[in-house]
Subunit: 364 residues, 2 copies
């Protein structure tokens, strides 16, 4: 089976029809939060400081096949490559137009990209002051406007690259009083739940934000415990649904904060939104996307694409089966739309991913 | 008649079919050249210095219905409004997705926009040093890459907002040794040909560039006597044609330098490129788009959309019939695609433009 569905399958069937015949567009939102530089929190970079450059390098590599800002593609401290390898292999198999949206990357990516005028790196959320309220609100509005100008599309797929994004997800969800402790994912095989909880509890306390205030105005949750990417994706989601389009949220547990922000902005999420991610996320024992979605918006189904790297000819990819990386840069969602729009089976897509990885490593 | 065709009509018929049923996308390229601040050269702003802010304000107004960086929409020294009024009224009538591309605006537009990483304001071309060669080359390449990522489109329409753009057109064409003296257009009823010629001859002399060098490498013409916008549009045109799409160049005589750059980059311009502009350009006695295109790429037809503001209820629009403004921000091309894609006659489109103008003036 190429993918499995958790939740309402008719919504996914409807989406699959649209993916086969409709007009598609993929957007990858990038941004940074200095939360990712807290030691031990994120392995989306060779060192905590380097995590700030991962988003720009990810999308430079996505477009050009190699980063421009640095010499090497983003890796974990163990040298395991960015999931953008999956994304690049799959997006190149289909003719889907795509664009990069910079919501606040620490460095400007050296590729043509959509800039949100209020783009800004988020501050560490243990301060309880992730970004000014006006900035968070503006990012939401700008991304919503962006969707309006990029109209005439039947299905948008939106993905993310933001190291530290699962911790800000925990922050946003906790500020909105969802029970999310221990449920967000990690790119590491051993999920540093205790550290994430400590960071979020510190931020929550310092912010003094009350849950009912946050639920009435989720921009407050973002400005205290959030980041630039999730609020921008939520704004884009809002605008895309106003365009009467379907939206594929391409990501793991981070998508929970995107739907939570949109929900509390009173966006109707029924029938038109699907989360598409990898099997490494949905089968992860150290997190629960399913539980989060159930608590926030149970009508949103989850598509789990059955990528399996256990037979991969490269150690760096076989590590995915040991719990490394799991998801990112819309890897799962991009594999899903490549599968449906081209009709290629996931085994064929895996081959293309192995080839892309081979090309990368040979280059060195 | 809603529009007339000068040149190969079968290319236009083919385009019209694609505009009716295909996937369209409009892009508006903005940028600045300090050439526009030479007194007497450009009236695309209330003062020579203000012309630097016109591109950002044009596209902010296009998206939001009012500028964000300044309080008022761009006007000529006489108070005649930007042609973006036409563009906004027409783009809002059709469901065509659109985006702004910043190739080097003096101020960053306060709307979501595509940034080319090498974006840069051009220096006055009477110096013979408009921008470093590497920048001009990078802009071309980046815009070409942008077209590749925004693939899956049948017809791209690309327009411009760059005050001083007819003078840089004269510069680029002269560097490439096309006989263009007295042939470029102006937003003023009295075209300052002598001043433009003086500026260009000064730049040519200082640059020391030989025509055969420029014809072999048109990026040299751009780096000495050009601007950031035309080279970016040429690069995008190149990439769009590699996508096997049709391209509507939405503009007046400035489109001559776009096709000249592309031609000398060895891009095959046959059968897939159309220039679409207003009757005010094609009937202008003080310039000749037809002669320029004939000299550069005679296979490219010109569509002249028959907008007529002589019955307009506003003086600011009736001035177009006296030779003011004429074209800009893709006004003619956007009217053309709105006409073909919606089936609305040009008289109806004029009504929408009058309404948009009324909305603007009432607001004040």
């Amino acid at each position: 089976m190429d993918f499995s569905v958790i939740g309402l399958s008719d919504v996914v069937e409807d989406l699959v029809d649209k993916l086969k015949t409709g007009r598609l567009m993929a957007l990858y939102f990038i941004g940074s939060t200095r939360t990712s530089t807290i030691p031990g929190l994120s392995i989306a970079g060779a060192t905590p400081e380097l995590t700030l450059y991962t988003p720009a390098c990810d999308v430079e590599y996505l477009v050009y096949g190699k980063p421009k800002s640095f010499d090497v593609i983003p890796v974990t401290p163990e040298g395991i490559p960015t999931p953008a390898v999956i994304t690049r292999a799959c997006i190149n198999l289909c003719n889907v137009p795509y664009a990069i949206v910079d919501a606040g990357s620490a460095i400007e990516p050296k590729i043509p990209h959509i800039a949100l005028p209020s783009k800004r790196v988020g501050d560490p959320i243990n301060t309880g002051k992730a970004m000014p309220y006006e900035v968070a609100k503006a990012l939401y509005d700008e991304a919503r406007t962006l969707a309006h100008t990029l109209r005439g599309v039947d299905v948008y797929m939106i993905g993310e690259s933001i190291p530290g994004g699962t911790t800000t997800t925990l922050g946003i969800l906790s500020a909105l009083s969802y029970e999310a402790w221990g449920k967000v994912s990690s790119a590491a095989p051993t999920n540093p739940h205790d550290l994430k909880e400590k960071v979020v509890r510190e931020g929550l306390e310092k912010s003094g934000l009350r849950a009912e205030e946050a639920r009435q105005d989720p921009i407050r949750a973002v400005s205290t415990l959030g980041d630039p990417v999730h609020v921008s994706m939520a704004g884009f989601l809002h605008g895309a649904l106003e365009n009467k389009a379907k939206v594929v949220l391409a990501g793991g547990t981070q998508m929970a904060s995107v739907i939570a922000i949109a929900k509390h902005m009173n966006v109707d999420l029924k029938n038109s939104v699907v989360i598409a991610t990898t099997r490494w996320i949905t089968s992860d024992k150290s997190s629960s996307l399913v539980a989060l979605v159930k608590a926030i918006a149970p009508s949103i189904p989850i598509v789990s694409i059955n990528l399996d790297f256990s037979e991969a000819p490269y150690e760096g990819l076989r590590c995915y089966e040991k719990g490394y990386v799991k998801e990112g840069v819309g890897a799962g969602g991009t594999t899903f739309i490549a599968h449906v729009s081209t009709g290629k089976g996931v085994r064929d897509l895996e081959k293309a991913i192995y080839e892309e990885y081979g090309r990368l490593t040979e280059k060195k």
